[in-house]
Every structure is written in C-alpha cells, then in structure tokens.
Amino acid sequence: MLRLYWEVARRGFRRYATYRGATFAGVFTNTVFGFIRAYVFIAMFAVAKRPGGYDLADVLTYTFLTQALLMPLYIWGWTEIADTVYTGQIATDLYRPFDYQSYWLSQDLGRAAYHMVMRGVPPFVIGALVFGLRLPTHPLTWVVFLLSAALGVTVSFALRFMANLSAFWIVDVRGINSLAAAVWTLLSGFIIPIAFFPTTARTIIRSLPFVSMLEFPVDVFLERVQGMHLVSTLAAQAAWAVVLLGAGRIMLRAATSKLVVQGG
C-alpha cells in the first residue's frame, strides 16, 4: 500500500515537470516579487531597530525563503478536488481501492517536492547572490528544515482539502477559496513576519494552525528555534497536521453521506 502512495507521489512530481515554460515564468515572477519585498524591508530596517529580534540579513532571508515556499505550499487557487465534485468524477474516485485522502496527500507531496526544487530553489539562489542571505550554520538544520517544510505542506494540504470539499455544499468554491487564501497568507506569516506584530496579535496568531505552514519552517531555517524549542515547534506542526487531516476525514464522511450519484 505504501508503495502505491510512493508511486502516486512520483507521478505528482512528474506531472508538473511537463510545463517548463510555466516553471521559468513562475521563477521570474517569484524573484521579481522577492526583490520588491526585499527593498521595502531594507527601507524599513534603515529606521527600525531589530523589530521582533530580526536583523536585516534575517528579514531578507525570510523574504526569499517565503517566496521559495510559496509554490510548494500552493495556497492560491487549487480547486482540483472541487472540480471533481462538480463533474461527478469524485464518485468513481471514492470507489477506488485506496484511501481517498492519503491518495491526494501523496500526490500533493510529490507536487510540492517538484515545486520546492524547480520553483523554490532558483529564486532563493538569486536572492542569495544579490542580497547575501543567511544560510544555516549547522548542517543538520537543512535536514530539519526540509522536515518542517514537509509538515508545513501537509498542514496546507489539510486546509485546502477541506476548502475543496466545501464544493459539496456550495455551488461555486472560488469565493470561499479566495477568502481562505487571503486569511492563510496573512496569518501564516507570508505577508510580514508574525514577529513584527504587536504582542497580543502575535500570541493569538501563533495559537492558530496557519503559522505551521510558513513561520515555523522559516524559524527553523533561520535557527531562531533551537533545542527543546525546536522539538516543540516540530511537534506543534505534526499535531496540527494530524488534527486538520482528521477534520478533513470527518468532513469527507459528512459529504459522502449526502452524495447521490446520478445514473450508472
């Protein structure tokens, strides 16, 4: 069974590898956005004194790392499952002899791996060459970072899975999707580091699952969390992944109990 999910993940990887032009265009766009954001932070740090404990190298690294993680996290506009609800394809998919959620999760992790390598690495390398970013001092940090990023993708997938399943109840998921994506981008720490928020806002935001997608992997990379704190960060990510995937399964059960398949 594991072998099946491994194959599904590999297909997910290969499927996106087909679109070379799109990859190139995407890297260009992610890099340009990285540059624009970087200069805003440079202007900010010319005046601000170590906001949230960040120095300039930290915030520039944060900028290009978040640009790099943007595609692997795939926060915007994924409606593949919702589309199968509208076409009715989902009825056959649910019949197949594998676990529905695990199938899509494997596919998504394969996709994320592709996006990490082809869409994530180039903008980061360009940013590093131009702005001199901060790389981990400890070699093991790279490994822990990849684990943390994978957990981040899993949390992101669990949320997107539920947003997609809302198609069972709503005629058009685009409204809900764009609203959800907006909230996730802000509360995950993509728009601006959560550390820059006033204390109360910061505490509230960090008690929500969204920071597990982005802020935590970035903190791991910047080595802002270490020792026991590092363990508890990864544990929080894993816990949110389990809880949200579980919630998705409950939602799937509720959705399929009202599924009526026309014809046959």
């Binding site: 032009g21 624009i36 809900i176 728009i191």
Partner: protein
C-alpha cells in the same frame, strides 16, 4: 465609435447579469475581495508600528500611495482581468470565433469576463485613501486638483495598458503568462510604497521601461509637496502624456500579437 461603445456596454451587461445569477457567490466574492485587499494594508500598518516614516514618508503619505494604487489597479483588474483567460481562449480555439466577428478582438476578449468582485478591492482602496486624506495636509490649489485628478485617470489608464501589453505574451507562448503577474500584481505592490526606496535597476525596469512611476509616485510628489532624491520636477506633471503613450504602445503590441497569431486548428 458610439455604436462600438454600445456593443461593449451590452456585452459587459450580459456578463454582469450572468454572474448575478449566483447571488450568494457573487456577494461573497465582493466581500472576499474587500477583505483580501484589506489584509494587504495590515502590512503597511505593521511596518509603521516600528517606525515613524518609511523612506521619509509618513503613514498618511504611504496610505495615500496605497489608496491611489489600489483604486486604479482594481479598476484595471476589473475591466482588463478577462485577459487572464487569453491562454484558455487560444487553446480552446474560441479566439478564432472572436477574430471572425466584426468587432475589435480586444473588446471581445475583455467582455468574456467582468470581474465585479474587484469593486470590493476598489472600495477598500477608497477607504484607505480617505484615511490618508484625513492625515496629510494638502494645500489644494487649482493645479493640485488637476494633478490629483489626472493622477487617478492616468494611473488607471497606465495599468490597463500594462495589462494588455503583458498579457499579449500569450500569443507567443501560452505557459509564460505568469510573467505578466510580476508587472500587474507586482506593479500594484510596488506602487504602494515610495519609489525611491527600491534599488536602481528594479526602478529602471519597473518604473521607467514599464511606466509604473507615473501611476502615482511622481504626481503624488506634487500633490503632497514632497522632495524626492530621484527624477526631475518636470516628471510630476507628465503622467497624462505617459498614459497616452502607454495606450499607443499597448495597442501596437496587441495588434502585432494578433497578427502573429496562428490558430491551433482545433
């Protein structure tokens, strides 16, 4: 010309009625766009939580840039956003039908979708703009009013032209249209902040080759009576000219692109 406008109005009207059929989704999309764009302004507020001025510009002044950028950008997004669908039209062969009809190809493509949800973004931009106007002191003169009004019209026109010119890439290569996002959405983001904080090469490319500097930065310098380390004072008044030039350039690019187009044959 008058009849062409009437046809555009009629096509656009039919799109609006079609969207309005799904009322819940329609309202939710407008509310969503409103909330979504407000989240962007939180970035500005959080930055100013740590400092009194960014690049020498106060919160009110940056909000002035942000508000003006948002209102005109979302207007362009609403009217030109259908160009995002150009690759789909080309792939499905729908564009062939468009080219056989006796109405300009651009107008027909534009009316395949009217993004009314962007009204939500315009409203948000308007609120931030109003907030900015209560915080900055502008000595209104006839010339300032004229520059202010021409900034909004010129800015909208420049963004529309950028939208047309960059999306025409789809006629050459269909996957590459994400490049357009870096100057449309990227342009919106860039024009939220005073231009002189950006690096010199980025500025040359995005502000002068793509004329984003004339959307709001240079006219704002005059309206807000600000000094700037870059650009001659004359540039503060040329936005309408730049807008006119951008329209001509975008039109030429679109015509060349359509002429280049070979049907997929399907």
């Amino acid at each position: 010309m008058a009849s062409r406008a009437a046809i555009y109005g009629r096509l656009a009207g039919s799109r609006l009625r079609a969207q309005y059929q799904y009322r819940f989704s329609f309202v939710l999309q407008i509310v969503g766009a409103f909330a979504l764009s407000f989240l962007d302004f939180i970035e500005v507020l959080v930055i100013f939580h740590h400092l009194p001025a960014l690049g020498g510009w106060s919160l009110g002044e940056v909000a002035f840039l942000y508000g003006s950028s948002y209102v005109v950008f979302r207007f362009a997004d609403m009217t030109m956003g259908a160009l995002d669908r150009l690759p789909v039209l080309i792939r499905m062969g729908t564009l062939d039908q468009v080219l056989t009809r006796p109405l300009g190809s651009l107008w027909q493509v534009l009316t395949t979708d009217i993004g009314v949800r962007h009204v939500g973004g315009m409203v948000q931009g308007g609120i931030v703009f109003w907030f900015a106007l209560t915080r900055v002191h502008i000595h209104w003169t006839a010339l300032r009013v004229a520059v202010f009004v021409s900034m909004l019209i010129g800015g909208a026109v420049i963004f529309c032209a950028i939208w047309v010119a960059t999306n025409a890439i789809a006629f050459w290569t269909m996957d590459a249209r994400e490049v357009a996002n870096s100057v449309t959405y990227g342009g919106n983001y860039l024009t939220n902040y005073p231009l002189h904080i950006f690096g010199v090469w980025l500025r040359r490319l995005l502000a002068y080759v793509i004329p984003l500097a004339f959307v709001n930065y240079f006219p704002s310098l005059y309206v807000l009576d600000k000094r700037s380390p870059i650009g001659s004072p004359v540039l503060r008044f040329v936005s309408p000219l730049v807008a006119a030039g951008a329209v001509v350039a975008a039109g030429a690019i679109w015509k060349t692109a359509v002429r280049h187009y070979r049907s997929s044959g399907s």
